[in-house]
């Protein structure tokens, strides 16, 4: 077995272990998230359709009220019975307009639907982040013969997933720039120092986040139990 295949197998196992909780979670939660997103979307579409229908009726009433207004100016020349008819029609139209205005102002997407949409959006963002992580891992695994493979793998694990690709690219670029004047051994020493310092900073940060999540879960459990 060559060292490349050993490296590839090792990194595949590491990746599966690292991603196992996410995959399990995704298998159970993802169908619910998709369902929730479809539901919130259909509710939002229905509300928008209703709003559009009300808006159409509102503009039609407005147009008729405008026509009546022009007739009102000519009222003086009409017989008294016709005058009364036009005035009654005008006041009925104004009442209808007010009714529709009040109805359209009340027409909003329910709070529960909005909350569900934001939760679904958050979960979608999480999955997208995981997908980015997966893609960057694939790129990393493709460079299995690189001198800095294990160091890169370590950085991939601790760096923020939004920037892991860019950070690895920056390090690779600077490593090449440095290795020209000082030689590869000194450049590698610099690379190792960079990884060591980055891991020190980022790993504690990850642990802090886990500790915060743990504390919140602990508080919630205590709250539920009523202690």
């Amino acid at each position: 077995m060559t060292f490349q295949s050993r490296r590839a197998i090792f990194s595949k196992i590491l990746f599966r272990v690292y991603n196992a909780p996410t995959l399990c979670w995704a298998a159970f939660i993802l169908p619910f998230v998709c369902g929730a997103q479809r539901l919130t979307h259909s509710i939002a579409v229905r509300v928008h359709r209703k709003a559009a229908a009300i808006h159409e009726m509102h503009s039609e009433l407005n147009r008729r009220a405008y026509e009546l207004r022009s007739q009102l100016e000519k009222l003086k020349g009409l017989p008294p019975l016709r005058q009364q008819e036009v005035l009654a029609l005008h006041s009925a139209l104004i009442t209808d307009l007010e009714h529709f205005r009040a109805k359209s102002s009340r027409l909003k997407v329910p709070v529960s639907v909005r909350a569900m949409a934001s939760v679904a959006q958050h979960l979608k963002n999480t999955f997208e982040r995981r997908l980015r992580e997966y893609e960057s891992f694939q790129k990393l695994a493709a460079r299995v013969d690189s001198e800095t493979y294990y160091l890169d793998l370590l950085l991939w694990f601790v760096l923020p997933s939004d920037f892991v690709e860019e950070a690895l690219g920056d390090l690779t670029e600077e490593y090449l720039i440095r290795s020209e004047p000082v030689g590869p051994s000194q450049a590698q020493a610099w690379y190792r120092r960079q990884v060591h310092d980055s891991v020190k900073v980022c790993f504690w940060r990850k642990l802090e986040r886990i500790a915060v999540i743990g504390t919140i879960v602990d508080l919630l459990i205590k709250l539920v139990r009523g202690k």
Partner: protein
């Protein structure tokens, strides 16, 4: 006072480096700029954590640039400072200036 109302010393340095580099502010350049000008050696991990935080606070924005062979086929991410970030930096430097005003600290104007 919330977390969005102030920035730390390293965040100041990062924002100033982005301003100095203008359109060429990406990870490696920012790190080298801080190292050369401020004489402060910093790791790429610490830098990206700070950039991540500043972006979450809305002080900077970033766009993906071109991928080069030199970077192992990975793209650069260019950072620019937002008006809110500029304002925060101005307020932070002003506060620092006010605090040090009139103090006789050797080597500082």
């Amino acid at each position: 006072m919330g977390q969005r109302d102030h920035i730390g010393e390293f965040e100041q340095l990062v924002l100033l480096a982005i301003l100095r580099l203008k359109g060429d502010a990406y990870g490696m350049k920012i790190r080298r700029e801080i190292e050369e000008r401020a004489g402060r050696s910093t790791s790429i991990g610490a830098l990206y954590l700070t950039l991540d935080r500043l972006q979450t606070k809305g002080f900077i924005t970033s766009v993906l640039g071109e991928a080069t062979e030199q970077r192992g086929g990975r793209a650069k991410r260019y950072f620019t400072i937002n008006p809110s970030g500029r304002e925060m930096l101005r307020a932070s430097l002003k506060a620092l200036h006010k605090m040090s005003e009139g103090l006789a600290i050797a080597g500082v104007a």
